[in-house]
């Protein structure tokens, strides 16, 4: 940023380039309060982590930690701060009116529409914060989430300044566990949904596009799977293949695709008769090309909305599985797992079960707000 030639460009805005030194200031100057304060708060948070957690950051750099987790956290910290500044400079550059010059594609309409929805933006902000916190867990967590100490003196401690969320029955810090648990719970949510929508979209598109026998067969399979007691499948597969995070992800992914397939099929059925598809067919394009280039992009809106809402759902299901003792391995702290650890003693050590539960609620609320925002933004028919 001390680059003179670069700096001269920024002067084209109303204020000097120095305004971007404080992340978010350019936005504030443009009266875009939410974005401005959001960026400012985020930057302050990252800076605070950098200052307060400097010992661990230095340890990472010195190679003392050596753990991949630490490097992820370090990268998050530096890239996060970097991109916040980057955003501010970009705002300077784009001039007072915002990105007027940008191309008005369908997606940027949607993005504008999305940012108009206050709640959705709040949800997105909440999720960004959560993701940052998750990735920064090694710098933020005051204790090792799996370390079992002396137990008798350290277990079941009430929430206090030392242990923000108290300690569990083996003396582990619940706050640290919830922080680390976030990454696994979120990872399970995102990956399982990725599997589900990929499979669901493919099957739904094929069924809707080809129709006839293919449709009949695929949809009967979908019917069976939707009416199938999912719990049976989960229990059997988990006990057959053993407990591991990957198994849980795959099983959830494989049981959640039918509803996506149904939505996509419905969309495709109506698309199939539309002019541009007919035109593509008349031009002699192959089925695969038509599906990939023309059909799928046009059904993505409901799929993305469904997927977003589905992530929340997966997080809830994972916690239910852990509750039944069928979730991830016991040494992996997911939210469901932590919650389950405190279950028997809920009436006395309520904090062990309450805080991870609240973390789930926080996340699912954020995701649902985003999902609603996306629905309004992407699908004009559903705009409320």
């Amino acid at each position: 940023m001390s680059d003179e030639t670069g700096a001269s460009e920024y002067r084209s805005g109303r204020e000097g380039w120095w305004a971007a030194l404080l992340p978010g200031l350019p936005y504030l100057l443009r009266r875009r309060w939410i974005a401005g304060f959001g960026i400012l708060a985020m930057a302050a948070f990252l800076a605070a982590v950098l200052v307060l957690g400097r010992e661990r950051v230095f340890a990472t750099l010195a190679g003392g930690g050596g753990d991949i987790d630490d490097w992820v956290a370090f990268a998050t910290l530096t890239l996060g701060l970097g991109s916040l500044w980057g955003l501010s400079f970009a705002a300077l550059r784009s001039g007072p009116g915002g990105d007027r010059s940008a191309a008005w594609s369908q997606w940027s309409t949607a993005a504008r529409e999305f940012t108009k929805n206050r709640l959705a933006v709040v949800g997105l902000g909440a999720l960004v914060v959560l993701t940052a916190v998750t990735l920064l867990a090694p710098y933020l967590a005051p204790y090792d989430p799996v370390h079992i100490g002396d137990v008798v003196g350290t277990r079941n401690l009430r929430p206090s300044l030392d242990h923000l969320m108290g300690t569990d029955k083996l003396g582990r810090d619940v706050f640290s566990r919830v922080l680390y648990g976030a990454r696994i719970s979120l990872a399970i949510g995102f990956t399982a949904i990725a599997i589900a929508i990929t499979l669901g979209t493919a099957v739904g598109a094929a069924a809707g596009y080809f129709g006839g026998v293919v449709d009949a067969i695929l949809m009967r399979i979908v019917d069976v799977l939707i009416a199938f007691p999912r719990l049976v499948l989960l229990i059997v597969v988990v006990s057959l293949l053993g407990h591991s995070v990957n198994i849980v992800i795959i099983v959830l992914g494989l049981t959640l695709w039918p509803s996506t397939a149904r939505i996509v099929r419905g969309e495709v059925l109506s698309l199939r008769e539309r002019e541009f598809i007919q035109a593509a067919r008349a031009l002699g394009f192959g089925d695969r090309r038509i599906i990939a280039r023309h059909v799928i992009p046009n059904v993505m809106a409901p799929v993305i909305v469904g997927a977003t809402l589905g992530i929340g759902n997966v997080i809830l299901i994972e916690s239910g599985l852990s509750f039944l003792g069928l979730g991830v391995p016991i040494d992996v702290p997911t939210w469901g797992r932590i919650l389950d650890d405190g279950r028997a003693a809920l009436l006395s050590t309520w904090w062990v079960t309450t805080f991870p539960g609240l973390a789930i609620v926080y996340t699912v609320v954020a995701i649902n707000l985003i999902g609603d925002g996306l629905r309004d933004a992407l699908d004009p028919r559903l705009r409320m």
């Binding site: 137990v151 008798v152 079941n156 029955k169 053993g242 003693a345 009436l347 050590t349």
Partner: protein, 552 residues
């Protein structure tokens, strides 16, 4: 009806008040006259269902206890010193003739089935014959494997012919005669599924059956004419068994007063029950010991020195404190302390990580690549420790993993669902490293199925342990009736097991029961949870009021 009950109660008192002092042991501070103790409903909460009241079919401990102490009567019982004493049988005698022995029971005359028919020797013989006819379909068939036949002498005398073996009376302490006049005509193939077990059982015990709502509750009612000789009419009018699978729900129900007894309070809940002004905790010793089984077929566990090192590397004192909140004793022998042959001269191996490291070094397991985990010939000292989903055992895995990590052994804790665990560790390929389980055998133990060298391998040979001397010792104690002669053999057996460490014994389990203060005189011990259910009584002022709201 109520008046009739009172009358019976008074009559009962005339005869029973003599030993009232004995019955009110727990209640010295607030003497309540005998006749005021009758009445009220006691509600007991279970975590799991009692499947059936049919002796021929049931297979779970809850059903067994309800059969033996509530609905039916056994011929003999263990007293608090674990001596067999008469119960339904007034007396018995044996004759011996080399390979053949007779055992004759004289039954009491006054015991009636709840439909009015007398309980006779025919019922006993019928029960025995059906058990033999069911053969291996009877879950506890092995208990009667040395019994040959039964002959009814007269209505109240029955004689059994059997091969002499130690503890030959033991099966009659947990087998209750079933009513022949009800089940006699049921074909053998339908005996185990007969509605008798769940819908319409008729017993002869201190309580009669009222209702069973599967998955919800069993309701029993006091037998008003239950003979004095067997303990007389129970004090409580009704005994309800509720099934509540979730521990938190159970605790809430105990605290709010919906339950009087919560069987199996989780260790982490004990403190809360204790701190409640309206409830107390009763701790009692059980027959259960928890252990880690090392699969000696695996290179890591083949060497006794390594198994010993692993035991030395686990701080079992801390483990008992951490996972059971102190409810248990560090274990070291397959015969728990209650057992007459328990070798109390042995001491549990101490927690000694330094010796553990030295033993592992000596056995060739050294951490040469500096990753914190030892290895030998390319094998890493890393293994999966499995158990079933049970919160306490899950904690055991985590503690063991954290302890063994400090001596350079990596433990990967894995929880399997119970049936999968069972199939894995009993499967013929024995595809596992080590597991944690609890084991609670009957009083007569048969350890050959666990530690004997068997070909082909039996279900319980999960340790893969074989020591010819152990086989010899176990074979001899299985035929020695004289305890004085058997004792040194049992002691030697325990010493060998201590040396070889096929298992790491973790702890002898003490359990906790939460009891509402209004329910008095509850006792439990190694024999079970219902041993004195007849004597339970409820403070007259705090009995459940019909149609009133719940009393806390």
């Amino acid at each position: 009806m109520r008046r009739a009950l009172k009358l019976v109660a008074l009559v009962a008192c005339v005869t029973a008040c003599i030993d009232a002092g004995d019955r009110s042991r727990e209640n010295d501070d607030a003497p309540v006259p005998e006749e005021l103790r009758f009445g009220g409903t006691a509600v007991v909460g279970f975590l799991a269902e009692a499947s059936s009241m049919n002796e021929f079919a049931s297979n779970d401990i809850n059903s067994d206890e309800l059969q033996s102490y509530v609905l039916f009567t056994t011929l003999v019982r263990y007293d608090e010193d674990l001596q067999l004493v008469p119960y339904l049988a007034e007396s018995w005698e044996t004759t011996s003739d080399g390979e053949q022995r007779t055992l004759t029971f004289h039954l009491r005359h006054a015991v009636k089935w709840h439909d009015g028919a007398p309980t006779t020797a025919y019922d006993v013989a019928f029960t025995f014959d059906r058990i033999k006819a069911l053969g291996r379909l009877f879950p506890r068939a092995a208990s009667f494997s040395n019994y040959d036949s039964a002959v009814v002498q007269d209505s109240f005398t029955v004689t059994f012919f059997l091969k002499p073996h130690p503890g030959f009376l033991d099966p009659w302490s947990f087998t209750s005669p079933m009513p022949q006049h009800i089940l006699g005509d049921v074909p053998l193939a339908e005996l185990q599924q007969d509605p008798f077990g769940s819908v319409s059982p008729v017993g002869n015990g201190p309580f009669r059956f009222v209702e069973h709502r599967p998955g919800d509750r069993w309701v029993f009612e006091a037998t008003t004419d239950f003979p004095e000789a067997l303990g007389g009419r129970p004090y409580v009018d009704r005994l309800v068994y509720r099934i509540i699978p979730e521990p938190t729900t159970m605790l809430a129900e105990l605290m709010s007063g919906e339950l009087d007894v919560y069987l199996g309070v989780a260790p982490s809940q004990v403190e809360q029950v204790e701190s409640s002004p309206t409830a107390r905790v009763l701790r009692y010793e059980t027959r259960i010991y928890a252990f880690i089984n090392w699969n000696a077929r695996r290179p890591l566990f083949a060497d006794p020195a390594v198994r010993r090192a692993l035991t030395l590397g686990i701080d079992r004192e801390r483990l008992v404190e951490a996972v059971r909140y102190g409810m248990g004793e560090v274990a070291y022998s397959p015969l728990p302390p209650y057992h007459w042959a328990h070798n109390s001269q042995l001491q549990p191996l101490p927690y000694d990580p330094d010796s553990a490291r030295a033993l592992l070094d000596a056995a060739g397991w050294v951490d040469s690549d500096g990753d914190g985990v030892r290895e030998r010939d390319g094998d890493r000292a890393s293994f999966e420790l499995i158990t079933n989903s049970n919160p306490v055992r899950e904690d055991v895995l985590e503690i063991v993993a954290s302890d063994l990590a400090t001596v350079g052994v990596e433990v990967i804790p894995r929880v399997l669902e119970a049936q999968t665990l069972g199939a894995t560790i009993t499967g013929s390929d024995r595809d596992f490293d080590a597991f944690v389980l609890g084991w609670g055998p009957q009083f007569e133990q048969n350890d050959r199925r666990i530690f004997g060298c068997a070909t082909p391998e039996g279900l319980f040979h999960w340790a893969g342990y074989c020591n010819p001397r152990v086989d010899e010792l176990l074979d001899r104690v299985a035929s020695l009736e004289d305890r004085a002669q058997a004792l040194p053999l049992w002691f030697e057996y325990q010493e060998i097991i201590q040396r070889d460490q096929p298992y790491t014994f973790l702890y002898y389990e003490t359990r906790a029961i939460g009891i509402k203060n209004r329910l008095r005189a509850v006792e439990m011990d190694v024999r079970g949870t219902l041993i004195n259910v007849n004597d339970w009584w409820i403070e007259p002022g705090s009995r459940r009021q019909i149609a009133a709201s719940r009393s806390p």
